[in-house]
Amino acid sequence: MIRMLLRLLGPAYAPPLRRTVALMTAAAVAEGLSYALLVPVLRALLGGTPADARPWLIAFGAAVAGYAALRYGSDLAGFRVGTALLRGVYHRFGDHLARLPLGWFTARRVGEVSVLASEGVLQAMGAVAHLLGPLISAGVTPLTIVVVLLAFDPLMGLAALAAVPVVALVQVWTGRSTAAGDAERAERGDEATARVVEYLQAQPVLRAGGRTAERFGALDDALSGLHRAARRSALSSLPGVLGLTFTVQAVFTALLALGAYLALGGDAGAAEVLAILVLAARCADPLLSLAHLGGSARATRHMLARLDAVLRTEPLPEPAEPVHPAGHGLEFDSVTFRQGGRTVIDGLSLSVPEGRRLAVVGPSGAGKSTLLQLIARFHDVDGGAVRVGGADVRAIGAEALMARIAIVFQDVYLFDGTIEENVRLGRPGATEAEVRAAATAARLDEVVARLPGGWAANVGEGGALLSGGERQRVSIARALLKDAPIVLLDEVTSALDPINEAAVHEGIDRLMAGRTVVMVAHRLKTVRRADHIVFLDGGRVVEAGSHDDLLRRHGRYAEFWNLSLTPSGPE
């Protein structure tokens, strides 16, 4: 667990954690050793010479003071490191998530990330702050006491020593037997969380479909699954707890009997035997608490492992020596990209010279959006290369690449915050005037003027408080503000009525001026702005040319447009 904590913390926090662990161990040893002084104290008090106890008692007092200093120090250190860890892990977690390939973020991840970010990180912190200390003490103090026992009464010491391997074995065995159950429970928990999120977000649809909780089987199955896993995991930990308790109690009973036998037989002094039994009781208590602590430790370790797994997921590799692209032309060179076993882009080659505009047209699922994502390197290709300014996007470096690209997405996602914050994402350092100018160009100023709160109006989670058109204008303003040489547009006008569309198009015209543009287009108006059109199907370019060329060809493109313009009903 410590090793995993060290890895989670990263090198910066490792030395304080090591120091804390050392302090905790020292405190536990000091506690065990201080008990050694109980033997002479009790020998004197019980043996009828209470006056002799005084110096030993003073010594014990001194030992306790030493222990107290160590313990106090280690407690404080634990709190401190725990809090530092909280911050550190959050930073690493956030930064790492931002670097993971987009392909990693499946629907299920929402639940996992949300659990890890709240419960997970807290548990890691709690582990340092108040699990590590007791755990170390529950293991180290009894061991120290056993050593002390060996020194005073080898026979009883040996009897106590016999418990050590058994306790260790039981702990290991418990860990193994519960690991599967715990893992399953965690998995079910994630599944249930993801289902709950889905259930909440899909409420309008579910209600309209008459699916109340009891009729939405997926959620109930997930909850029942979690229940069954929880039962199994509770039951599977029971034998371990019983085994540990039984072992410790059996050894204590054995010591009691052995002590009685030795004392009654006169082989050992009564006072000494009693003192040793007091020590044995001190030994038993922390060991018994191991059962409880062990459970928490396992749960924590499991959580740490999951955090670790996320943090160890490979981000897209960064080039050691980034190449500087020459210009802003784009090129796909026999690019193949597979996702979930399906070939999304299949040996595709095309190029967009600097300052030109390419429109990508095709049926749903043809790979249009993926094409844009590959330029922005949301994923790495499986074959071929995507080049920007002649340089492979993998060789440019994420920061440098992103600095050149402005994207307007199909589904505009805004962050919960004000409109201004969302626009500023485009260029955080922009001046007030620049932000206003971008907003005006995107005709966002009308929206802002209409909103109660204006620039400070909150957009809600995912931008839910704005309408589709308003969200899109925010996203265009954001892209305008970024002022990048390459612009990627994805079905920008999908959710707009014609009047709004005119506003958005005006913004887009400004956005495209003098830039290299790749746009996924569904509307004629968009397509006609392009210098060149490719018709994509099944991840391949089926047709390419200008709008008029393509229409004259009477091929797929022409069919596509006719389909879209012909009413289906009989005239």
Binding site: E31, L38, L45, L46, P50, L57, A68, G78, L86, G94, L97, R99, F105, T106, A107, V110, E119, M125, A129, H130, V196, V197, L200, P204, V205, R207, G210, R211, A213, F216, S224, A234, L235, T253, L256, A260, L264, A270, A271, D285, R342, P363, S364, G365, S369, M402, A406, G460, A464, L465, G468, E491, L496, H522, K525, W561, P567, S568, G569, E571
Partner: protein, 651 residues
């Protein structure tokens, strides 16, 4: 794990338990289990709870036996004269028996407790899900999804100690030390008092930890945790934006800020508590307790006022006075967290669901009538900012801003409208005119604040929701697909649909061939095996409505713009109207408007014009102006296309 539980002060609150457990237990009973929902859930398990408590207490008391055995053995061995062997062995046996009883009883108690806990958690989650499925949709607007998911997930888990540990462990943590205390008093009252010194010291520190400031910080921590959850959900869902605007340091600021705030509060809280907590830990630590007992005992023995063997029970049981309290420390801390979690669960359970009629009425036919309908979003945003915005209607939120300035503003102002069966009614109007709000009244996303919506002569509020959903289906812009098979997604409203029917509607929306190409055809799980494009998702939504085949269909046509195929699918859905289907559509295409039997022109939440398209054009009023502006916005396309654009001509 709650912030409180995982903070350093966790252990410290041990003493809080000592100080205030009596209060706490009463408190938990009243605030926590007192709510009807939760208490009702627990009532059937009362027997199990009693068993857990009884077994735990018996086990705990039996656990004293071995310690008493050591003390008794001491008395026997140290007694003057030859030791009584028989008595000594009897004592050893009694101790061993006590340990065995403890082992069995506490294990049984813990086993029953945990199983009980799993059962209770399941019923709590089911209850929450059931309630959340019935609260007004507007209620969701004030809460992030992550925050609510946390209530159903983590908060229910956080109740665990309250169920599995609290009853048994808390009871035995009181009963067992009490038994020890009584016994120790009978041995020597003076040393008993001395033994209590560490506990008293620790208790003295408690007020320092319960300052209003700390409690405020604890509340902040909980709130901060909720924000982190929401931010994480947002972060993952908005990851594409994060990546596009790069600079990991900047784009996910919301998450960072939430985490940073939380860490900041946490450090303040921990800083405030850690030295007190560590001090308390020291006061309760076994070496310190032993030192106090030994010092006191040595004094009493030296001045001859106490027999030496009487020291033993104090050394053994005296620690027990603090040990259960310390053991409870974790527990008590979790318990505080559990109480807060339970509070949040109760808040959710306390939300009033959309009322179901006591005596549901049966609609006759499916003529839809709106009578003097007013609707306004509540001042606190409760009624449905979000549901509205979520649905993404261009008009939806605009309505919100435009229609009213003050809170409680009206989005719909006295709408009277009749939708006859067998007709298509097209709603048109500028952004913010209330179109989206209007159509959302039909599937009862909201209830009108004044006036009524009638279906077949019956107020929607007098219809059972199940009946309503059999009559009304809708396709709005914001399509949520479930992580389920394609077939299940299409058959959402018709769970037992025949596979043939599902295929038929999929073909109608041009999806059949695409679905067959998926890895498992109709059994392909969306979101797992495959991610569908926006247009495909929208076509699935249309297929849903086609399959549901309800007599009333509500449609937002903006959906159509995803791609030509989707557009075509929408037109088919409109064209495939059964003889007497009632259709209400927010029209964006001129063709649709031209095809409609009735056009309703909405402005500022009121109907400004109403009639057949030809009539309205002839009237040369608002609609005609609107028509012309649309017309010019689309002529460029219509003229440029090789295909024929007919919508701009009225037939």
């Amino acid at each position: 794990m709650s912030p409180a539980a995982s903070s350093g002060a966790g252990t410290a609150t041990a003493t809080e338990a000592a100080a205030s457990t009596g209060v706490a237990s009463a408190d938990v009973a009243s605030t926590g289990l007192g709510s009807p929902g939760v208490a009702g859930l627990l009532r059937p398990h009362a027997g199990s709870f009693a068993a857990v408590v009884a077994l735990q207490v018996i086990g705990g008391i039996a656990g004293l036996a071995p310690l008493l055995a050591v003390a008794e053995l001491g008395r026997t061995l140290l007694a003057p004269g030859p030791a009584d062997h028989a008595h000594a062995w009897a004592v050893v046996l009694a101790g061993a028996a006590g340990l065995l009883v403890r082992l069995l009883f506490t294990a049984a108690s813990s086993g029953i407790g945990h199983l009980l806990d799993a059962r209770v958690q399941l019923s709590l989650r089911r209850l929450l899900a059931e309630r959340l499925g019935r609260v007004p949709l507007g209620w969701f607007s004030r809460r992030g999804t992550g925050e609510l998911a946390k209530v159903v997930g983590q908060d229910v888990s956080a109740v665990h100690p309250l169920i599995a540990h609290f009853p048994g462990e808390l009871t035995s943590a009181f009963v067992v030390p009490l038994v020890s205390l009584i016994y120790l008093f009978t041995v020597d009252w003076r040393l008993t008092l001395i033994t209590m010194i560490p506990v008293a010291l620790a208790v003295a520190l408690v007020p320092l930890m319960m300052t209003p400031r700390r409690q405020r910080e604890e509340k902040e921590l909980d709130a901060g945790m909720g924000r982190i959850s929401s931010a994480a959900v947002e972060f993952v869902q908005g990851i594409a934006v994060v990546k596009a605007f790069g600079g990991g340091e900047r784009a996910h600021r919301a998450f960072r800020t939430a985490a940073e705030d939380f860490a900041g509060t946490m450090s303040r809280w921990v800083r405030g508590l850690s030295s007190i907590a560590a001090g308390m830990q020291l006061a309760l630590s076994p070496p310190f307790v032993l030192l106090v007992v030994l010092a006191g005992g040595a004094a009493l023995i030296t001045d001859g006022s106490m027999a030496a063997p009487d020291l033993l029970p104090f050394l053994l049981l005296g620690l027990g006075l603090t040990a259960p309290v310390a053991a409870l420390g974790h527990g008590f801390d979790d318990l505080q967290a559990a109480r807060r979690a339970l509070g949040r669960i109760r808040d959710v359970l306390a939300v009033r669901p959309l009322p179901e009629p006591a005596r549901p009425a049966e609609p006759r036919g499916h003529r839809v009538e709106l009578r003097g309908v007013h609707f306004g979003y509540e001042a606190d945003g409760g009624a449905g900012h979000k549901a509205d915005g979520e649905a993404g209607g261009e008009a939806g939120h605009g309505a919100d801003h435009e229609a009213g300035q003050a809170p409680g503003r009206e989005v719909l102002r006295g709408i009277d409208l009749v939708l006859e069966p067998g007709t298509i009614t097209a709603v048109v109007g500028p952004s913010g005119s209330g179109k989206s709000t209007l159509v959302r009244l039909l599937p009862r996303f909201f209830d009108p604040t004044r006036g009524s919506v009638l279906l077949g002569g019956v107020d929607l509020r007098e219809l059972r929701s199940a009946d309503l959903h059999r009559k009304v289906s809708f396709v709005f812009q914001d399509v949520r697909l479930l992580r389920a098979s394609v077939a299940d997604n299409i058959a959402l409203a018709v769970p037992h649909a025949a596979p043939g029917d599902i295929r038929r509607v999929a073909a109608l929306v041009n999806l059949h061939d695409r679905i067959l190409e998926l890895p498992h055809g109709y059994d392909t799980v969306i979101g797992e095996d495959v991610k569908l494009s926006g247009g495909e998702a929208q076509r699935i939504a249309i297929a849903r409505a086609l399959l549901a085949d309800t007599p009333v269909l509500v449609l937002d046509e903006a959906t159509a713009f995803a791609d030509p195929r989707t557009e075509q699918a929408v037109r088919r859905a409109l064209a495939a109207r059964a003889e007497d289907r009632t259709v209400l559509v927010i029209a964006h295409r001129l063709e649709t408007v031209a095809d409609a039997d009735t056009v309703v022109m909405l402005e500022g939440g009121a109907v400004v014009e109403h009639g057949s398209p030809a009539e309205l054009l002839a009237r040369n009023g608002r609609f005609a102006a609107f028509w012309r502006s649309h017309h010019s916005a689309t002529t460029e396309e219509a003229g440029a296309g090789d295909g024929v654009r007919r919508g701009d001509e009225l037939r």
